[in-house]
């Protein structure tokens, strides 16, 4: 008997959600400065992309973006499933999301190295910020994939309040990464305007 009347339903967000919000705020600011740098460098040179570099392709990146953003659905469903205690559904949804995300990541790594052959990162300022921005985004997708792998490992041993909060926090992380990816791809494709 601690002397406190603790409310039954969850009031406010779990501290895990707050910790993830801090990480997302820091990473979003980092991407903000990267995107700000992109536009600052763009204003410096009349022709953009400069130095005979081909304009970024339109269709394929948008399709891949749609694929990645679609994984938000299973992740959100997994979060609600975890909150309502349905273990099997949570595991399945996270596994599905993981497969799609890993596929996305594999293709992006291949596409990244393929582009590197066409114009190297050391060509000029455009190539520098292009690959740094895209590489940073892929790194965060990789981190999300690792989060999901770790989650599946944990959920293999059943539910605890800690793991339910973890699923919600990582679903929130994936939502943020998808929004960031939309911003990054949007910035890179703005070179076509």
């Amino acid at each position: 008997m601690s002397g406190y009347s603790v409310p039954q339903s969850q009031v406010g967000r779990p501290t895990a959600w707050w910790g993830m919000t801090i990480l997302i705020a820091s990473e979003a600011t980092l991407f903000g400065t990267f995107i700000g740098t992109y536009y600052y460098l763009r204003f410096k040179t009349p022709t953009w992309p400069p130095g005979g570099i081909p304009e970024p392709k339109l269709v394929v990146p948008l399709v891949m973006l749609a694929v990645l953003v679609s994984t938000t659905v299973p992740m959100r469903l997994a979060a609600t499933a975890a909150r309502t205690g349905r273990l099997a559904a949570t595991r399945l949804l996270i596994a599905v999301a993981l497969v799609v995300q890993s596929g996305y990541f594999a293709y992006e790594v291949h596409d990244f190295s393929d582009q590197l052959h066409r114009f190297d990162i050391t060509r000029n300022a455009y190539s520098s910020i292009y690959y740094t921005l895209l590489g940073a985004d892929h790194a965060h997708v990789l981190l999300g994939v690792l989060f999901n792998l770790w989650l599946l490992g944990k959920l293999a041993r059943g539910f605890t309040r800690y793991r339910i909060h973890a699923v919600q926090a990582i679903a929130w992380y994936w939502l943020a990464v998808n929004v960031l990816t939309i911003a990054v791809i949007g910035t890179l494709l703005s070179a076509r305007a």
């Binding site: 536009y39 204003f43 410096k44 040179t45 009349p46």
Partner: protein, 124 residues
Amino acid sequence: MSLRRLEILQWVGLLLGALVWTGQHVVGYGVTEAACSPGGTHWGIRTDTWEAVLMAAAAGCVLAAGLAAVTVVVRTREESYESPPPTGRVRFLAIAAITANLIFLVIILLDGLGSIFNVACRQG
């Protein structure tokens, strides 16, 4: 006025001003950087019209936010900012919002004044 509406007005008063000033600052500075740099002169951006529109819009929003904060403070004048939550906290943050919006308003007005009455794209 119900507590729920007071609380909404308080959050509007506190956060709208900050958001609007940030937007006016980033877009206003971005316009001056874009219009005058080698990469952007061909777009033909008239900075003073942009800045005037930005100032008017931003000042309007900040005034609205300030008004919201003032109504909350007026409606809770029989409470003190030290009374128990939520009314005490609402009054406390509304008083804070009034100060914040006043400062944002002055910045926005000085921004507009300065960027309109100076020669566009002259290296300072």
